[in-house]
């Protein structure tokens, strides 16, 4: 079995993470595990043989037979409406992977790590935070998470429990804040980025994942703030 072969997982549980996003846990006997930040190709096959394939980041990391995806609904999409609206416990799902060796964090990496998420772009970054916690790594981790409203936060409870001295989480709400929030709703700015992330002087590895426009802005500002462009790894989705 290699990452090029199609595997079959059985859905053991699904959880609505937000009103439009679902996490899916698969049981995959013989799965060899994945590094934090990797993704898989998911393949759907209709009765007439028609197939559609899309890439999704893994929320799970490390060894074990469980594989976890988290999928946000794209209204006019073809695969995400099925995964979010139809797929249920007991169903089988075909996929292959793990794929990608660039946008990856490994527990042996000791430098500080700044994660910057836009919306569902938090999924591969959550995998990194999970790997960080599971490994007992002492590397300093920080997450800046831009999200429209409190209801649209993925893995809210888990992020709260992972947060601690070695993992600081900062939320930026772009449309609606929780009651009593000290800042008005608004987008991430260069100023927020400068004040709520690990400074360039500490030479952090930076992982940015989100919609294209968000990633473009954030990556540009990081370079302006003095980060080495080669230390800033990006993953974008959607067009412009």
């Amino acid at each position: 079995m290699t990452f090029r072969d199609w595997l079959v997982g059985t859905v053991v549980s699904t959880t609505m993470q937000t009103p439009t996003a679902k996490s899916i846990v698969l049981d995959v006997p013989g799965w060899k595990g994945s590094a934090a930040g990797q993704h898989v190709d998911v393949r759907l096959t209709a009765e007439d043989g028609y197939q559609a394939v899309r890439a999704y980041s893994l929320a799970s990391t490390g060894p074990g037979d469980r594989v976890e995806l988290a999928v946000d609904l794209i209204e006019d999409g073809e695969v995400s409406p099925y995964l979010v609206g139809e797929l249920r416990e007991g169903d089988q799902l075909e996929f292959r992977g793990p794929l990608g060796r660039w946008f990856v964090w490994k527990p042996g990496d000791t430098q500080p790590v700044q994660l910057v998420a836009g919306g569902s772009g938090v999924v591969p970054l959550l995998a990194m935070a999970r790997a960080h916690a599971a490994s007992g790594s002492e590397a300093k981790f920080r997450l800046l998470y831009s999200v429209r409203t409190p209801a649209e936060v993925f893995y809210a409870d888990e992020l709260a429990s992972l947060a601690g001295p070695n993992f600081e989480v900062t939320f930026v709400y772009t449309r609606q804040t929780p009651p009593g929030w000290p800042h008005p709703a608004g987008r991430v700015s260069r100023e927020i980025l400068g004040s709520a992330t690990i400074p360039a002087a500490e030479n952090p590895a930076v992982f940015v994942c989100g919609p294209t426009g968000f990633v473009e802005s954030v990556a540009d500002w990081l370079v302006e703030l003095g980060h080495n462009a080669l230390a800033v790894k990006t993953e974008r989705f959607g067009g412009n």
Partner: protein, 197 residues
């Protein structure tokens, strides 16, 4: 043999013969990059070809564009599965740039501003198959799509069309470039679905 996905019917079938296997059509122009977008000024820009003889051919922006832009009407296919049909580019043919190159090597490494690299066989750049593109859709190429200039090799997956292109170095063997070292296929033919290795 694939398993069937209970309750999945899919979109109306796209029986478009211009669409390689496993690809879907997009009207968008998605962006795939490994890091921040370099911001380059054409005043400081240059493009170089280096060969094993020690020869370096070099063009600044004005010299390059003075070689003459060709119109290129083509389909493009990204390894992340979107395809865009009938796109319009303008660029300088690699045939012109290689006219005076002295080389017996069969492979190239393409280098970009920002450090990105990708490898190709030289023959895939010759005979009207590749350009240094400076315009897309009648406008100067935007930085996030590789501007001011990117390689355009539309018969291969689009990561081979290196953004922010800076130069080409001849190499004896087909040593892998950046994405090729990070999981993508060494050649990348969309019609044979050469996505990963």
């Amino acid at each position: 043999m694939a398993i069937f996905s209970r309750g999945f019917s899919g979109r109306p079938r796209e029986s478009n013969p211009d669409l390689p296997p496993g690809q879907f059509l997009t009207e968008d122009f998605p962006v795939l990059s490994a890091g921040p977008t370099p911001r380059l000024d054409t005043a400081d820009w240059k493009f170089e070809i280096k060969t094993e003889t020690g020869q370096t051919l070099s063009w600044n922006w004005d010299e390059l564009t003075a070689l003459g832009l060709e119109d290129v009407h083509t389909d493009i296919h990204c390894v992340t599965r979107w395809s865009k049909l009938g796109t319009d580019w303008r660029g300088i043919s690699l045939d012109k740039l290689f006219e005076d190159a002295e080389t017996s090597f069969d492979f190239v490494m393409v280098h970009s501003y920002g450090g990105y690299t990708t490898n190709l066989p030289l023959e895939d750049l010759m005979n009207g198959q590749a350009w240094i593109a400076t315009e897309f859709g009648g406008e100067p190429l935007e930085p996030d799509h590789g501007g001011p200039a990117r390689l355009l090799v539309p018969h291969l997956y689009f990561w081979k069309s290196a953004k922010w292109v800076r130069g080409i170095t001849m190499q004896r063997t087909d040593s892998p470039g950046f994405w090729e070292q990070n999981g993508y296929h060494i050649y990348g033919d969309p019609w044979r679905e050469e996505r990963y290795w």
